[in-house]
Amino acid sequence: MHLVVCVKQAPDTEALIKLKPDGSGIEEAGIKWVMNPYDEYAVEEALRLKEKNGGDVTIVSLGPARAMESIRTALAMGADKGIHISDPSLDRADAFVAASALAAAIKSLPHDIILCGQRAIDDDSGQVGSILAELLGVPQLTIIMKLEVAGGVAKAVKAIEGAQVVLESALPCVVTAQKGLNEPRYASLPGIMKAKKKPVDVKNAAALGISVEQKARIIKMMPPPQRAAGKIIQGDDPEAKARELVRLLREEAKVI
């Protein structure tokens, strides 16, 4: 079984994010970068499928030089090889351009299942997996919590409001991973030592033959509005305070 996993490097969830003064993006200096957590589920699921069915796992990542760290991490977890799409012209790619680049790289690879995180925790667009499936002309199973593959069919479970749906798809297909799909393994020390020797192809936009226009443009980034200060209800009588609280929730906050 040929498994391909798309991996993005994103700021650590604990990282303190500062915006550039001109609002064009975030300050990258001093940020700790990690593999997007949803992509970790995708890598883990691919490794489990490989362990069960045999085959190989290829990691594809679009990003600047530092993205190689996430590829190596995935290789250290047990993936077999990597493709690093690195091109300054793609550094600020929107979801469509990113998916186009990934699709161009994946087309030339044998692929039965392509796994992605359901979204990246940096810009939260959640579109790349779906666009990628469209560009490759294959079905998509998105935001998946459980996956079984047998007899050329992928069977996946997805949570919807108040229920779960079970989806089936022929292969090849794109699967995007949701939290709960599995518990990602650590890269082991032997895995880290072996990862160095695994092949990673570095490709630029020209080598992939892509030149696409951005569909979306970031006009400005700004922090969310500051929360207003809380209100403390004064007084000694608990009953009166409770009555005042209810009144405020009803009349001012309009939540009850």
Partner: protein, 620 residues
């Protein structure tokens, strides 16, 4: 990076900027290593420490270990963690790839395990003793012993211990009574009781391999008559499967002040005359062999001290930034002023900076010692090998005793930062103080460490190791004097280390005089002075590097433009980091180092009151 355990930036500073660990990656032995590999390992260790080890910290303490129906159970949450820890390959990390290890440099291993130790040292005792015991078999075992025991210990399938202490033989190991009787097939029948055995019995693994010190019948008394035996909990059949129980019975487990998740057992060997051991190494060489494990274990205990110290400090800083209490001192006259986070109060800042300077100094010291081990192992010449090996030997008692003694102080001060909340179990800080104390006691009490330093290590290599150390401190003084900002502070280091060197010479002169017991009497204060001088040295060395790096961040104006420096540090975390290194070095140089001269003088006075006072007069 804010993980409440370890400052990852400072770890990297010591590794890459202060020690220059990348130099050893150039050697043939460590050619598979690079900064990239090191970063991945540090990252994986930190991740596992935060996500998997830390959650077991208070759980393991509350649950503790139990002995029921002959089975010792560790805290439930340790099982899954142990499996993950072994699967990730940490037990064999520093071992040669030929025997299933990763050949990791000791320096890198020290850095990788720091967050583990900080997250839960009680848990780390289990793998820690296993890699130590496996190391003995690696070095002294026969091929059969290696394939039977060592390989399965290095995967974590089986665990290990070290069995020295007996009810009447702790510090005085030579007094042990455990015996080994020759059996016709060349094995030995072991009989005796060992106590305070860390990881002595537990249900994490199906077998436990005990290296046991015992005296073969007829061998002389004292340490020269002791041999070492491999005694498995369950015998191993020729095909590698587990055989019958080997008559190793757990008498009890201790109820301890701290590290409660670590099972400390009394083990009865051969109560039914049915305990079989194999000789490890040569007969009557047991103590020498065991010392290999003990020396490594002492450095691990030093790393334990560092682990508790850094976790206590990181917790205290975080708390001080969040806890709002009292108006600031400059608003003393203004009752309407708002309360501020306690990190703004001078006394809290002083406590935090005191902790920061010690934690960072102790980190640098322990990494430096590990680096000496690596430098010795890749040295090209005999002289170089001797130099770095000697440095490691000299500093081993400091690593063990100074790190652990200071860890208790640091944990205690961290409680002070929390105030009353620090004393209650809702907050994690009291546990660090309880867990830290054991490190002062086991692996040779800190009093014994001081005697090892003063009685053996100072004079080793004709005193050359100590002279090498003083020469390195002198070089740092010289470098720091060239920096305008550090010049006045370098003078304090200069005064401190020359005072210590003077005292050290006195010790030598006294060795054949009426004052010959003064160094023994004052071994522990001497060790603590030396610890302060070494910490002061490494902080100054770090400050000199930091001043240069900060200078290049600041550009043309350099370090002299104070307002610009403060503005830069507020927006640039790198600048803030280097400012922190300078502050720690200056604080230490002006608050701790000036006392060194007086402390040396107090020993040089050579008063004998503690020797002369009658036992009757201690408490009448």
């Amino acid at each position: 990076m804010g993980n409440l355990l370890v400052n990852g930036r400072d770890q990297r500073f010591v590794l890459y900027e202060q020690l220059g660990v990348e130099k050893i990656f150039q050697s043939e032995k460590y050619a598979d290593y690079s900064r990239e590999v090191a970063e991945m390992m540090l990252g994986e260790a930190e991740k596992m420490a935060v996500e998997d080890v830390l959650p077991t910290y208070d759980k393991g303490d509350r649950e503790g270990c139990t002995l029921k129906d002959g089975v010792v159970s560790v805290p439930q949450c340790y099982h899954q963690l142990y499996k993950k820890f072994c699967e990730a390959g940490w037990i064999a990390a520093t071992k040669s790839p030929d025997i299933g290890g990763q050949g990791m440099p000791v320096t890198l291993f020290a850095a990788c395990t720091e967050p583990f130790n900080a997250a839960n040292f009680a848990f780390m005792m289990y793998p820690g003793l296993t890699w130590g015991a496996a190391g003995l078999i690696e070095k002294y075992g026969t091929e059969a012993q290696k394939s039977t025991y060592m390989t399965r210990m290095l995967t974590g399938e089986w665990a290990g211990t070290m069995c020295l202490t007996e009810p009447n033989a702790g510090t005085d190991v030579g007094a042990i009574r455990t015996t080994a009787k020759r059996r016709p097939d060349g094995t030995f029948s072991i009989n005796g009781t060992k106590m305070f055995i860390s990881s002595g019995d537990h249900n994490l693994t199906e077998n436990i391999i005990h290296p046991v010190l015992a005296r073969i019948e007829g061998d002389p008394a004292g340490t020269g008559g002791i041999s070492l035996f491999i005694v498995p909990k369950y015998r191993v059949n020729d095909d590698g499967s587990l055989g019958e129980a080997n008559d190793v019975v757990t008498g009890n487990i201790e109820h301890k002040m701290g590290i409660r998740g670590s099972a400390t057992a009394t083990l009865n060997f051969g109560e039914n005359g049915n305990c079989i051991g194999e000789l490890l190494g040569e007969e009557r060489k047991g103590m020498k062999i065991m010392f290999l494990m003990m020396n490594e274990a002492r450095l691990e205990v030093g790393m334990q001290g560092l682990g508790h110290a850094t976790a206590a400090y990181e917790h205290a800083v975080q708390y001080a930034k969040e806890r709002v209490q009292s108006r600031p001192i400059w608003e003393m006259e203004n009752p309407a002023a708002e309360a501020v986070p306690i990190i703004q109060h001078p006394d809290v800042r002083r406590m935090l900076l005191w902790m920061k300077s010690y934690v960072e100094g102790i980190r640098a010291m322990n990494y430096f010692i590990a680096y000496c081990v690596d430098l010795a192992s890749i040295a090209g010449t005999k002289e170089e090998k001797e130099k770095w090996f000697g440095m490691m030997e000299l500093l081993t008692p400091l690593s063990k005793a100074f790190s652990s003694d200071m860890a208790v102080e640091i944990a205690s001060l961290a409680i002070d930062v929390y105030g009353g909340y620090g004393y209650i179990q809702e907050y994690p800080i009291e546990q660090y103080m309880r867990d830290a104390k054991i490190a002062c006691l086991y692996e040779g009490t800190n009093g014994i460490q001081a005697l090892d330093l003063v009685g053996r290590k100072l004079a080793q290599n004709k005193g050359k190791n100590a002279m090498n150390l003083f020469a390195m401190i002198g070089e740092t003084c010289q470098a720091a004097r060239k920096c305008e900002e550090l010049k006045p502070y370098a003078a304090f280091l200069e005064e401190a280390y020359t005072s210590l060197a003077g005292l050290t010479m006195k010790f030598k002169d006294w060795s054949a005089s009426a004052n010959m017991f003064i160094p023994i009497l004052n071994a522990r204060p001497y060790l603590m002075i030396m610890g302060d001088v070494v910490v002061g040295w490494l902080l100054m060395q770090a400050a000199a590097i930091s001043a240069e790096k900060l200078g290049s961040i600041l550009g043309a104006d350099g370090l002299s433009a104070k307002p610009k420096r403060r503005a830069e540090a507020r927006k640039n975390s790198e600048a803030a980091f280097y400012e922190g290194k300078l502050a720690a070095a200056k604080f230490f140089a002006t608050t701790v180092l000036p006392a060194v001269k007086g402390r040396c003088r107090s020993i040089e006075i050579a008063d004998k009151a503690p020797l002369e006072i009658l036992e009757e007069s201690f408490s009448v």
